[in-house]
Amino acid sequence: MVDALHQAHRAVRPGGTIIDLRPDSDHPPRVIRGGRAIGGLYERPHAVSDNHFSDRAVARVVGEGLLTRIRRGHFWYELPIADLAALDDYVAESRRIAGYTRGTHALLARDPGRPIVVKRALAYGIYRRV
């Protein structure tokens, strides 16, 4: 990741901008149905550790004096899912999502045909090339 940031640093003009946009492991996905939050999903350990590794890589390159941070933050977006079967598929096939938080699947299974919304958070950081 540090290599990738160094490559990006070489590719951007002096005074230019590097933006890092990725899933936010500090804010795990939430499961919404009928407008109510009823549970959540949790991420695979490797996804969380990769995210932290990326955080450290960015901090290192900033520490090297190659970038200065302009600002960072996070935001949520909604992913509509047709029903519980579709959400099961989504969880099973995801490289990031490991499973349902305790009790979430049982609640969804009481009415499996209803549409579901997964709210996911994205984190971003905006940096200026020195």
């Binding site: 951007v12 003009r13 901008t17 905006i126």
Partner: protein, 107 residues
């Protein structure tokens, strides 16, 4: 890249689990970093975000290690966007320089 092709969704396309519209651009309030700029999008996937950025950018180059994603991106036919198979560790952009580099779910 930690996860070169992003988070594969139920239809097998990385972008299937990404936002459907331009919410990233709106929420980051980053328009100024793209408008009139030469932009490099690393981890472009099927070019969804790159094609949105290209509406205001001078040019966009989208890179992704997934050939199927790059084929889909090219099919969008965005005139000021180019797409090619590449990784963040080996950008392959030569001496080309950009005003903005975006890591799209790829760092």
């Amino acid at each position: 890249m930690a996860e070169p092709v992003g988070d594969i969704g139920r239809i097998g396309c990385p972008s299937a689990v990404r936002p459907a519209d331009d919410i990233e651009l709106r929420k980051m309030r980053a328009a100024r970093y793209f408008a009139g700029k030469d932009v490099l999008d690393i981890g472009t996937g099927d070019g969804r975000l790159a094609s949105l950025i290209a509406r205001t950018a001078r040019s966009v180059v989208g890179l992704d290690p997934d050939p199927a994603g790059i084929r889909a991106a090219r099919r969008r036919g965005v005139p000021n966007a180019r797409f090619r198979v590449s990784t963040a560790q080996d950008l392959g952009v030569g001496k080309e320089r950009f005003d903005t580099v975006l890591f799209s779910w790829s760092l």
